[in-house]
């Protein structure tokens, strides 16, 4: 049923005196409102140049992670010759060579895969933790809410990078790709939880949830059918931006020496190795930094554009 | 065939005093990315000292927008005054410099709004906000301004004014907040007060008190009062004259007694039949069919024709009076009565 048809139907019912008009919107307003929200949003998105820049960058990054050989110009990241150590960029080797004389373009390009895997894996864990804890906390209120909120406060109060460093150094997770992703998620889920919790509390008090409850819907059904769909928009915005933040955090942890280790290929390791050569071979820090930044930017831009499209208050 | 120009038609019977406010063929458009919305399409009226003019209409009829245009507080962009003139005590407000215009607001014309809670700044005390009028326009000291604020709060009958002057808007009830707004608006003895739905957000008993207060203040000061409302009861009780607006135009105008006892426009007629009246208990309420017009696409001809029960379409016997194509001008239809309908005489039953 289209929005217009629904409006007409409500209008007919009101004039026919079959309904007071007050309770009517509680029946199907979730799907109607959600539909118009999403169709407005997708129209807005398609008009937003920042969104398209983000999509192009993000798609390029995705391709790079899945098919790095397409971008490496035939070079193998592990084929090195010391005679070319630290050579600056040239027409043959666009990004130059690193200290071991390996083709730097190939190395930077092959670094995308680990970043993508960690970013996606971590965001999934963040979402699962955030949505489950947030929904439980907001829906059940009372003692459950107090307990879960205090636990969230505890994680919130520990600096994000510091927490991840400690957990990685403790060794209980190991040091691989999964370990880094989980470490980031364990200290990064709290904002998602608060977002979901506040949405759940806001929607829980609305008239149409009261109506659904009056009609005998179960708690679980109300939560899944009526409340969570309302939290999708803000969580989606948050998740998109957070992928970028997590990718940056992975590079940071690896740079600090507690994330991925050689022989893994990672932008963080490349920046760390190039750090001491900033004076003589700045390209070693420059290129992985550039690609890392463009990648983070892709997700931030997409998330920003999504927020502008989904939040009508932001519109001019 | 010549038609009377709506902008020059002057309503007899209201020009008793000197006009303080004259609105002449006012046009306001909202120019948005998705198109131009015509909110006010040629509104003219004049207000004399001591007169209460009610502007009646449903939301979207242009009544508030025209008031904001008079105050010079339209959000621009997107709103643009695209034509017409507004004269206050003979001076054209639209050609004044912004600074001169500002000096009219407050001492010349002032305005109160529907929702006093959101219209008062939540972070300043009511005394500060009332006193600001004196400080900004008269350079009064902070201490004297507060004294004047207490006097004004007394005058609008806020109990315990001296002890409440430092309270914040959220600490007052709805009715008291609207009194604070009124105190602020009358602080500098304006010649014209525009009240935009002043009682809509209030309980019925409080509504009556606030309207009584406005009536008393008007009698004491002799200011002209423009009362914007969709409440027929309020109009009936306090207004001298009424202008009914529809789709950004005035469709009917006259004294309240005339218009209410015998409407000359089908829309006014519809409004009268759609509200409960104590005398007509047990009678059936007749809603006006259809939806208010979309201002981005106002119907051709008479804007009301799609909803009109008396419309005549394709009547060969009435050239130039085709409801779907010919826009009816606001014209004199009876002594002291103006209406914008091709068939007002039938509506009036004369």
């Amino acid at each position: 049923m289209t929005e217009q048809q629904q409006a007409d139907l409500r209008h007919d019912e009101v004039t026919a005196g079959t309904t007071t008009g007050l309770a009517a919107p509680s029946v199907d307003v979730t799907s109607a409102r959600q539909n118009s929200l999403w169709s407005d949003a997708s129209r807005d998105l398609r008009r937003n140049p920042l969104f398209w820049i983000g999509v192009v960058l993000g798609f390029g990054f995705l391709l790079m992670a899945v098919f790095p050989q397409l971008f490496a110009r035939g070079a193998d990241p592990r084929e090195c010759s010391l005679s070319k150590s630290n050579q600056p960029p040239s027409a043959d080797a666009w990004f130059g060579f690193d200290q071991q004389g390996c083709d730097y373009l190939a190395n930077v390009v092959y670094g995308a895969r680990n970043s993508l895997i960690i970013g996606l894996l971590a965001v999934v864990v963040v979402l699962v933790l955030g949505v489950v804890v947030g929904a439980l906390s907001g829906f059940f209120s009372g003692a459950v809410d107090s307990l879960l909120s205090r636990i969230t406060d505890i994680f919130y109060a520990i600096p994000f990078i510091l927490g991840a460093i400690v957990i990685l150094r403790s060794g209980i997770l190991g040091r691989g790709v999964v370990a880094v992703a989980v470490a980031l998620a364990v200290f990064g889920w709290m904002t998602a939880m608060r977002l979901v919790r506040s949405q759940v509390i806001a929607v829980k008090g609305s008239d149409y949830v009261a109506a659904a409850r009056a009609m005998g819907a179960s708690s679980l059904r109300i939560l899944v059918r009526h409340i969570l769909p309302n939290a999708v928009a803000p969580v989606l915005v948050y998740a998109t931006i957070t992928i970028g933040v997590l990718i940056a955090a992975e590079a940071t942890l690896t740079f600090l020496g507690v994330g991925l280790q050689r022989p893994a290929i990672s932008w963080g390791l490349q920046i760390e190795a190039g750090q001491s050569l900033l004076r003589t071979a700045p390209h070693l820090v420059f290129f992985p930094s550039l690609i890392l930044t463009l990648t983070v930017m892709a997700f931030v831009m997409m998330g920003d554009a999504l927020r502008d499209a989904l939040d009508p208050r932001q519109r001019a | 065939m010549t038609r009377p120009d709506p902008s020059t038609s002057v309503l007899p019977g209201t020009g008793l005093g000197t006009p303080v406010l004259e609105v002449d063929d006012l046009h306001v458009e909202f120019r948005t990315r998705s198109g131009v919305v015509s909110a006010v399409n040629g509104v003219s009226y004049s207000l004399t000292e001591g007169e209460t003019l009610a502007i009646l209409g449903e939301s979207g009829s242009g009544k508030s927008v025209s008031a904001q245009a008079i105050m010079g507080i339209l959000d621009s962009p997107p709103a643009v005054i695209s034509g017409g003139g507004i004269h206050f005590e003979g001076r054209d407000l639209l050609t004044m410099s912004p600074e001169e215009q500002r000096k009219v607001r407050g001492p010349g014309i002032s305005m109160i709004f529907q929702d006093a809670l959101s219209s008062l700044n939540p972070v300043y005390s009511v005394g500060y906000q009332i006193g600001e009028m004196f400080r900004a326009h008269r350079g009064t000291s902070r201490r004297d301004a507060k004294k004047r604020a207490i006097e004004l709060m007394d005058r609008v009958r806020i109990p315990g004014a001296a002890s409440r002057v430092n309270d914040y808007p959220h600490q007052f009830s709805g009715g008291m907040r609207q009194r604070v707004m009124i105190a602020m608006a009358i602080a500098l003895d304006p010649r014209v007060l525009i009240a935009d739905e002043p009682t809509t957000a209030l309980d019925v008993t409080v509504q009556a008190q606030v309207m009584d207060l406005l009536e008393d203040l008007q009698r004491d000061t002799g200011m002209g009062l423009v009362l914007i409302t969709h409440d027929l009861g309020v109009v009936n009780e306090v207004a001298d004259n009424v202008a009914v607006m529809y789709a950004g135009r005035i469709v009917e105008r006259g004294t309240v007694d005339d218009v209410f006892s015998n409407p000359a426009h089908p829309y006014t007629d519809g409004l009268m039949s759609s509200v409960p009246q104590v005398e007509a208990k047990g009678g059936r309420l007749l809603p006006i069919d259809g939806q208010p017009p979309n201002l981005a696409a106002i119907p051709s001809g008479c804007p009301f024709h799609p909803r009109c029960s008396r419309r005549r379409l394709g009547d060969a016997a009435a050239p130039g009076r085709e409801c779907a194509t010919d826009l009816p001008p606001l014209r004199l239809v009876a002594p002291g009565r103006e209406a914008a309908c091709h068939y007002s005489e039938e509506v009036l039953g004369v």
Binding site: R150, I151, D153, I154, F155, A157, I158, P159, I161, L162, G163, I165, V166, R169, S170, G171, I172, A248, A251, T252, F255, L256, G257, I271, Q275, V285, S289, L292, T293, V296, M297, V300, M301, D304, R313, A316 | M71, I73, D75, R102, V104, R105, G106, P107, S110, M111, F113, D115, S118, S119, L120, N121, P122, V123, E132, M133, A136, H137, Y168, H170
Partner: protein
């Protein structure tokens, strides 16, 4: 208000305990034996190892170790590292560096962020607004790590305006790292201010202020900015607590001997007492500034009443 503060203080206790225990548990789950590592190439005598283990309560179960640790902490004893240096000495040495860095960062954040946000919000969709929007997206997207190196390379090495490491030049040494540390929050403050100003400019009470015939300056400053800056000021206040715990990367890149650097070195050196002590301190700052902000909020916005 007093009761609210008291209640909030009570609520911070489980957070402090929970956070410090979480870190404590993770730190003492560190692999390897720090006591053995202490000896380096020459293994320590078994008797010495046993005595050290006893001294640092390493033979107790984890919860008992924690209780003993907290007991000492409450008496002001942060303990010592394995070499016998008091943890408080480390804090005294490094905290002033972090405080100076935070002051510089907050100053950048507040001044540049608010000015840019106000200019953008007043002329929404104007040229400056777009400049602020685009540049804040860029700044938010650049990882602090990268930003640090770019700043070092451009302003330190190419132009030679600022030192790129250490604190030998006093406050001047803090400008570059302070700006880098502030960058993300600065962009956020600019955006928050912009949104808040633009929203308040459309508020009914601003329309009232115009209808009262107030001068434009008064309308903007008293009736728009005063209201708009409430969320901004509270964000900046809370950010003090965040920045004091979040400077590990900046302090590493610019080689500043601050709290973040000290805790990182302690993690690498498996100095449990130092790690837990400093993290607990950071958590305390975080919680304290958040509470302070809540109180500040009530002062700034009369509608907020905590009872």
């Amino acid at each position: 208000m007093g009761r609210y503060i008291a209640r909030r203080l009570l609520l911070t206790i489980p957070v402090l305990i929970g956070a410090s225990f979480l870190i404590f548990a993770l730190v003492y789950a560190l692999p390897g034996d720090p006591i053995r590592a202490l000896g380096g190439d020459r293994p320590l005598a078994p008797a010495v190892v046993a005595q050290l283990r006893d001294e640092f309560n390493l033979n107790d179960p984890l919860w008992l170790q924690y209780v003993k640790y907290m007991g000492d902490l409450l008496q002001g004893d942060f303990g010592t590292d394995f070499r016998g240096r008091p943890v408080l000495d480390t804090v005294e040495r490094t905290l002033p560096v972090t405080i100076r860095l935070t002051i510089v960062a907050i100053a950048f954040e507040a001044v540049i962020g608010i000015v840019a946000g106000v200019l953008a919000g007043i002329r929404r969709n104007g040229f400056l607004d777009n400049v602020v929007l685009v540049s804040s997206t860029l700044v938010v997207s650049i990882p602090i790590l990268v930003l640090g190196f770019v700043a070092q390379f451009v302003f330190g090495l190419q132009f030679g305006w600022f030192p790129i490491a250490g604190i030998q030049e006093g406050w001047y040494s803090y400008l570059l790292p302070g700006l880098v540390l502030a960058a993300g929050s600065l962009a956020y403050v600019a955006r928050l201010t912009r949104t808040s100003v633009a929203e308040n400019l459309r508020a009914d009470f601003v329309r009232t202020a115009k209808a009262k015939g107030l001068p434009r300056r008064t309308v903007v400053v008293r009736h728009t900015l005063r209201n708009s800056l409430i969320p901004v000021v509270t964000f900046i206040g809370a950010d003090i607590g965040t920045l004091m715990g979040g400077a590990i990367v900046t302090e590493t890149v610019f080689n500043l001997p601050g709290l973040g650097r000290a805790v990182f070195d302690a993690i690498q050196g498996q100095e449990g007492a130092v790690v837990v002590g400093i993290v607990t301190l950071m958590v305390f700052f975080f919680v304290f500034f958040n509470l302070a902000v809540d109180v500040l909020y009530a002062v700034l916005d009369p509608r907020i009443r905590y009872d």
